[in-house]
């Protein structure tokens, strides 16, 4: 189409969105760089520039390494387990079962709940002694002494990762289900005639055709995992100790409870680069794989 129809004045349409985006998203990110080299405490405007000492403190202290480790564990498990469970659920509900529409709908329900409600419900589930799992174990005559999911250093992180997966698996499932609808029926028939079993059909026909859904789900859950904040905030306060401190939760705590805005900004900058690099690398490799598949 010629350029008299698609004029450059069209760019004016982007102005309202760009204004919001630059003022409330880009500008604050740039400000973060400025704060990261100061001793700003959140109130006093006469802060000093302290060079790279915030970064130095972070690299020497234990918070950074620990938060990175927790965030990476959180992301890796929620991406892998979340996608596998979501795919399994989608494959199951794509079978010829009575009432599958109903089952699909109720599987989606947890995604509609606010993180704060989900956090409350799972705090009850995990509670020692009177919580759901503890009482269930007691009823079945299983030992309940060591059931302190959120209170023990070794299990707290995995417990909240499970909550994250539970909340998001409905979305993952729906996207996989949509992908499965695009698998042509005759291709499956052809596979069957050639002697493919259920597993081979899945591995060599369905999974390659689900490439787009896999990319979307993986990308979404990686971004989600790297930004993990809700469940450490609502359920564990980063504890016990620092076992559930994720990067974003550490930034929040540093800034708003310890009043170290400068140091928190420095941690923000580091997180920013970690998130960007990991997301970019995965998206690029996934896209390459998708093309070749």
């Amino acid at each position: 189409m010629n350029s008299t129809v698609m004029k450059k004045t069209m760019y004016f349409f982007a102005v309202p969105a760009l204004l919001f985006y630059c003022i409330f998203w880009i500008f604050p990110i740039l400000k973060l760089f400025q704060y990261s080299i100061t001793d700003f405490n959140g109130y006093a405007q006469n802060f000093k520039y302290v060079g790279l000492s915030n970064f130095k403190d972070l690299f020497e202290g234990g918070t950074l390494g620990n938060s990175i480790k927790n965030t990476l564990i959180y992301t890796a498990i929620s991406v892998i387990a979340g996608n596998l469970i979501g795919l399994a659920l989608a494959l199951l509900l794509n079978q010829n079962i009575k009432g599958k529409g109903f089952y699909r709908s109720i599987s989606y329900i947890p995604t509609l709940f606010s993180a704060i409600v989900v956090g409350f419900i799972w705090s009850y589930v995990y509670m020692p002694d009177s919580g759901m799992i503890a009482t269930l174990f007691a009823k079945l005559g299983l030992p309940t002494d060591n059931l302190n999911f959120l209170g023990s250093y070794s299990s707290a992180l995995y417990s909240i990762i499970f909550v994250e997966i539970w909340k998001n698996v409905g979305t993952t499932m729906i996207i996989f289900l949509a992908g499965l609808q695009t698998v042509p029926q005759d291709l499956l028939e052809a596979g069957k005639i050639d002697g493919c079993g259920t597993w081979k059909l899945l591995r060599f026909v369905k999974i390659p055709l689900l490439a787009t859904s896999i990319t979307i789900n993986t990308t979404l859950s990686i971004i989600n995992g790297l930004k993990a904040f809700d469940f450490p905030f609502i359920m564990t306060n980063g504890g016990p100790g620092d076992s559930t401190n994720t990067l974003i939760y550490s930034i929040y705590k540093m800034a708003f409870t310890e009043q170290m805005f400068g140091k928190a900004s420095a941690l923000g900058i580091i997180s920013f680069f970690i998130i960007i690099v990991i997301t970019a690398v995965t998206v690029l490799t996934m896209n390459k794989k998708e093309v070749s598949a």
Binding site: W25, K31, I275
Partner: protein, 300 residues
């Protein structure tokens, strides 16, 4: 049900195959196993919600084991949760906040995507990626400068302040959906007639292009509406008065009760109340919820 499907296949026997009954029996058993598996998975998945629902229907001081399902049926806990979270007001605040935010997101994102999809140049490609990049930045991270800035600009901390953040945070994903859809689903030619009739860009966009974007608009309303409705974080940052709190923020008032079993019935009633509006919306508009989620997935 296994009997039923068995009866069905018995009604239409397949004369060309000889071991008919054996095949059917195998099918029936496989079918029954699948059905059983699905039910088991669903129970495992939703048991916490069922227990919460059952406990919420008890009197606040009924402290019997929550695992004994539905042994009492009263709305007493709901009544006290309703009053404690000021449900009516919180519900209205949620409607106002989410409504205004979603309308603004739809207008801004649809408009911004128009040039990004139509103009083929380095600049429009840059703009597209510029917006998309915002997707990876967590809101909690930029909160420090934003709070400073909002104080610095003397933007009053009112009930409406979070809208600024809701709109901004929704732009990356919404422009991504709109741009993809215009590029692949709205051919240039549809605008030609309007152009020949002398309609300006503005008219052309709003009366020709925008109505064709309905599937994405639904998708944006659903996906962004859900997170904005459920968000407690930006609300918590900017809203301090109880009378201005939307539902998830009213829930924060129950934070201390999650460790306290004697308060659970009321807490659970509050949880159900908080989730109820979206559950009702979902049950009526299910088709749009699921469709809205997958527009981006299939197109993108």
């Amino acid at each position: 049900m296994s009997q039923e499907s068995f009866a069905k296949s018995a009604l239409h026997p397949n004369p060309t195959r000889i071991p008919v009954t054996r095949i059917n029996k195998g099918r029936v058993i496989k079918q029954a196993m699948l059905q059983l598996l699905v039910v088991a998975v669903m129970i495992l998945n939703l048991i916490p919600l069922v227990i919460v629902l059952s406990a919420s229907l008890r009197t606040p001081n009924n402290s019997s084991n929550p695992l004994t399902l539905f042994n009492e049926f009263t709305f007493a806990s709901y009544k006290s949760a309703f009053e404690r979270m000021h449900f009516g007001m919180a519900f209205w605040n949620s409607i106002v906040l989410t409504g205004i935010s979603v309308i603004l997101v739809v207008i801004f994102a649809a408009m911004a995507s128009y040039p990004m999809a139509r103009i083929k140049s380095k600049w429009s490609q840059f703009l597209y990626l510029f917006f998309l990049a915002g997707l990876v930045v967590p809101g909690q991270m930029v909160l420090i400068p934003i709070v400073q800035m909002i104080n610095g600009l003397h933007i009053p901390s009112t009930q409406y302040t979070p809208i600024l953040m809701f709109v901004t945070c929704s732009l990356p994903f919404s422009t991504f959906l709109y741009t993809g859809f215009i590029r692949s689903g709205v051919p240039d030619e549809v605008e030609e007639a309007a152009h020949i009739d002398g309609a300006g860009l503005f008219r052309r966009f709003w009366s020709v292009v925008f109505p064709l974007l309905m599937p994405v608009t639904v998708s944006v309303i659903i996906t962004q509406g859900i997170w904005i409705w459920n968000d407690y974080f930006f609300n918590m940052t900017f809203i301090s008065k109880a009378s201005q709190s939307p539902l998830p923020l009213a829930m924060l008032g129950f934070m201390g009760d999650q460790q306290n079993p004697t308060q659970w019935n009321v807490l659970f009633a509050a949880c159900i109340l908080c989730a109820l509006p979206l559950l009702v919306a979902f049950s009526f508009l299910q088709k749009y919820f699921v469709g809205g989620l997958t527009v981006g997935a299939v197109k993108g």
